[in-house]
Amino acid sequence: MVNWIWLFFIVCGFVIGAINGRMEQVTEAAFEGAKTGVSVCIGLISVLVFWLGLMRIAEQAGLLQKLGNLLRPFIRFLFPTIPKDHPAIGYIITNMSANILGLGNAATPMGIKAMQELQKLNGDKTVASADMCTLLALNTASITLIPTTLIAIRMNFGSANPTEIVGTTLLATLIATTAAILADKWYRYRHALKPPKE
């Protein structure tokens, strides 16, 4: 599906850019986009290095495992195929906690680390496992308690009540996450019946 989405963006962009006579902008945008991609990754280096270092300490000290034991029923429900006491569990929990608290720069490294741990359990290294898809679903929906950036923006533009959207955001994010979990469960069930096709 990524192949199709990617091709769609590029071909659509080319055709419509040609119709609109915006070839110059399209060329510029292509390289501007590439530059953005690299600079986002460069920005990720510092947070990844820092958090992966700190989390290795937590792992060695047995903290991640403790956290995993605490929330076992919950993890069992969402990720039925991860063996118990596997390090992936601790990372999944820290990833989700960071998301919930709105700590974006901590959430991504933990999520990536969790993916790497799940990859160790994965039979086919190029095809996403069911647990990987579940972790992704949780992260794309991403439950957020406090949308801090939005509150700051609303304050900036002189809102009478900048935090009034906390409730609506929380409800919307809860419903979106529930939808993600249900859809994930449905596909997990369907794919368990028939093996994935290439």
């Binding site: 991609g37 060695q60 608290l101 990987m132 992704l136 406090i146």
Partner: protein, 178 residues
């Protein structure tokens, strides 16, 4: 409630940075060496994501600059207007899924233009705050481990974006009055 949660958010990281090494030291873990050892992976991981992110960002950037995005939006806008939903929020719904920075810029623009306490401003805030950028998350997370076949993950992500978008509008119209 808000004050409590924002205090927790503010304290969470400093507490973790102090607590984890302290606890580990009690458990006789060589903290500094362990940190450096774990941190080594960070660089490689970040570098491994570059091709994935460059590919995706380039395509999205072309799509937006060509005017294709605007065309899609103006095609669907009348449909939303006819059911009383402010059509200005539609581009945000589409942008939210494909680019985090782009949708934040657009949401900020809507809030500025219509005022933070208008219906459009509130809907924009709710949409922007309630989901994450599906394409970015998939690109980064799967790119970092070299997954090429994402199976149904994209469908699930897009579906939850759609649900989030629709509920954000519905809730705001109910709570703040349409």
């Amino acid at each position: 409630m808000y004050a409590l949660i924002s205090t927790i958010s503010m304290w969470a990281i400093p507490v973790m940075i102090a607590f984890i090494p302290l606890y580990a030291a009690f458990r006789k873990v060589p903290v500094y060496e362990t940190f450096v050892d774990g941190a080594k992976d960070g660089f490689d991981t970040a570098v491994r994501i570059i091709p994935h992110l460059v590919g995706m960002m380039t395509a999205i950037s072309i799509f937006r600059a060509s005017g294709a995005l605007d065309m899609f939006v103006s095609a669907i806008q009348p449909l939303l207007d006819s059911v009383g939903i402010p059509g200005e929020v539609l581009p945000l719904g589409i942008l939210r899924t494909i680019t985090g920075a782009g949708s934040l810029a657009y949401a900020t623009d809507l809030i500025q233009e219509h005022g933070p306490d208008s219906l459009v401003g509130r809907i924009a805030s709710t949409i922007q705050g309630s989901t994450d950028t599906t394409l970015y998350v998939i690109t980064v997370y799967f790119g970092a481990v070299g997954i090429r076949n994402a199976r149904y993950a994209i469908k699930v992500g897009l579906f939850s974006d759609l649900v989030g978008f629709v509920t954000a509008i519905a809730i705001c119209m109910l709570v703040f009055g349409g």
